[in-house]
Symmetry: C2
Subunit: 366 residues, 2 copies
Amino acid sequence: MLSRNSLNFSGGPGALPETVLAQVQQAIIEVPEVGLSVLGISHRSDWFASIVRELENNIRLLLNLGENYHVLFLQGGATQQFSMIPMTFLHGNTRPAEYLQTGYWSGKALPQAQREGPVKVVWSGESSGFSRLPRNEELNLSEDAAYLHYVSNETVEGLQFHRVLGNDSAPRICDMSSDLLSKPCEAERFALIYAHAQKNIGPAGVTLVIIRDSLLANARSDLPEFLNYRTQINAHSNYNTPPVFAIYVVLLVTRWLINDIGGLEQMDLLNRQKAERLYAMLDSSQGFYQARVEPHDRSLMNVCFNLPTPAIERQFLEGAEAAGLSGLKGHRSIGGIRASLYNALTLEAVDRLVDFMFDFQQRSKQ
Amino acid sequence: MLSRNSLNFSGGPGALPETVLAQVQQAIIEVPEVGLSVLGISHRSDWFASIVRELENNIRLLLNLGENYHVLFLQGGATQQFSMIPMTFLHGNTRPAEYLQTGYWSGKALPQAQREGPVKVVWSGESSGFSRLPRNEELNLSEDAAYLHYVSNETVEGLQFHRVLGNDSAPRICDMSSDLLSKPCEAERFALIYAHAQKNIGPAGVTLVIIRDSLLANARSDLPEFLNYRTQINAHSNYNTPPVFAIYVVLLVTRWLINDIGGLEQMDLLNRQKAERLYAMLDSSQGFYQARVEPHDRSLMNVCFNLPTPAIERQFLEGAEAAGLSGLKGHRSIGGIRASLYNALTLEAVDRLVDFMFDFQQRSKQ
């Protein structure tokens, strides 16, 4: 019997593993090694210092990060990074930063960069309705850009890059909010990676930022302390009170990834199985379920599709909800259906969705 | 039998009411009205919109706020407000903002304001070791300051203003991080009030900001969106993914304040009883327990004191920990003992501490 939590296909905040939820539930009353509620433990305690240390080590282990990388846990979401990055690395620069506009979220990052310095949009999918991603030969990237910025997985449209973009001479900066820790990502090829937690990593309220030390040589130093990456690095993410609870939950998720799943290669295998099963359902539906994007650029995280009419889509969502399958409504900006298959969602849950979709299509024919 | 959580005297993050913890524990697996974990519910759901609406109404009710005030739930803590306030209301201004330096936290706010515009320090307690607060006659406040900024309760030193400062012609801005919702506070006399949650209001990770609409007429409009109060107001604190969990816990705390406690007057009565009992213990100890600050300015939230020697203080802390009384170590910047008596700490817990202190003093005499 699958619980409602395990059938949550929400685009984010997404579901967390059931074994993690059970540990969190315990920690609300008592963290075993402390004897106090996780909500009432000081961020200056030895316990919390050990939590941050273990979490940082787990991230380094999972992503094969060298000592030349800093691992930070900040507040403000990816949205704050949309601004902090150009405030720090573009402001006052004469060389433009190069941005890809591949969907809703990369489009949100763009104006926040443009207000800080020169920006060159090297490719936009707007005219094609964000139904595909660029091929390498469509990208004319400069070797001395301030940096290259792109979004690895567009959550709203269901587009995902299955390769690393750009050349090594310009720093790569990537918003991996919706696929970090879902697979190996060649992290050492990036100068800066950021990801809010609420897809694969933990609850809303904490954002993971990974920075290569050499990038900081070009960092502006006159920003307010809370916007200064160096201040946060020197304080081990504890410059001011961090979101203790959210960080603790992220630690539990990384333990689950390492100990229960067996690392990111294993996680990737599972995630591929899930996505393949669902895309196979779409492809065999004879056009009843229409995938939104080109096959080459399909996301393993967010499977977006349409049904023949908006009225049938509404029936589909009502029927799914009644069957215990929640969170399937597409993003408010484009509508349709979106099934998010983040790490915590199981293969069994995908099977349940596929069964429902098969039945729904059969019923619709009658 | 008092649990360890109920005997947590931590300076913050502080303990939460046991009835709130029980509800949070339930919500980790299933929010009753939704059937999903609170950690996996979309911030764009109808449920979350209703949570924010109810919470905003509860804050308005508890503080008697008129419609001319906006109520925001932001990230980044009081530390982010130390910068956001002068970035928004002081930057480019020729009239100075007036700041009081009454202890550790007001001292942290000061340099972040100084980097944005002209600041006049109207009083500093530094030379007196932050052992007292100014009398009105010591404050020479101007009528046309950009704003007046002060901290209502200095958590580290245990100093609290028991009155509203300043004149009505200059906007009052107050950091109430450690006493908001512990008592009525004449909120309508302030142009802006801010408080991180982790003392009386909820877990670390969310910050309450209350702004009078007329103050926004002077707000700078060219800041990045995430630092723009208007953007957050227009989006009802949902411009980008807010810390859903922390906001939900704050709602539960306000329900507890309204329904279980009976409002802020009742909360104040309880908090006064707690503090009076502990200060009476200090005052009757014939100098064994030495209160840090002058009686007139004693905090009801943080009771700070010293014992005859640092060695005896270490024994005291060890003995307290062994007796289940936790979080009594003073702030790392000044040492000593600090008993924080935030809303969730009960009179019974204070009695337990007083009993321990009495016994400890007796044993020390032998």
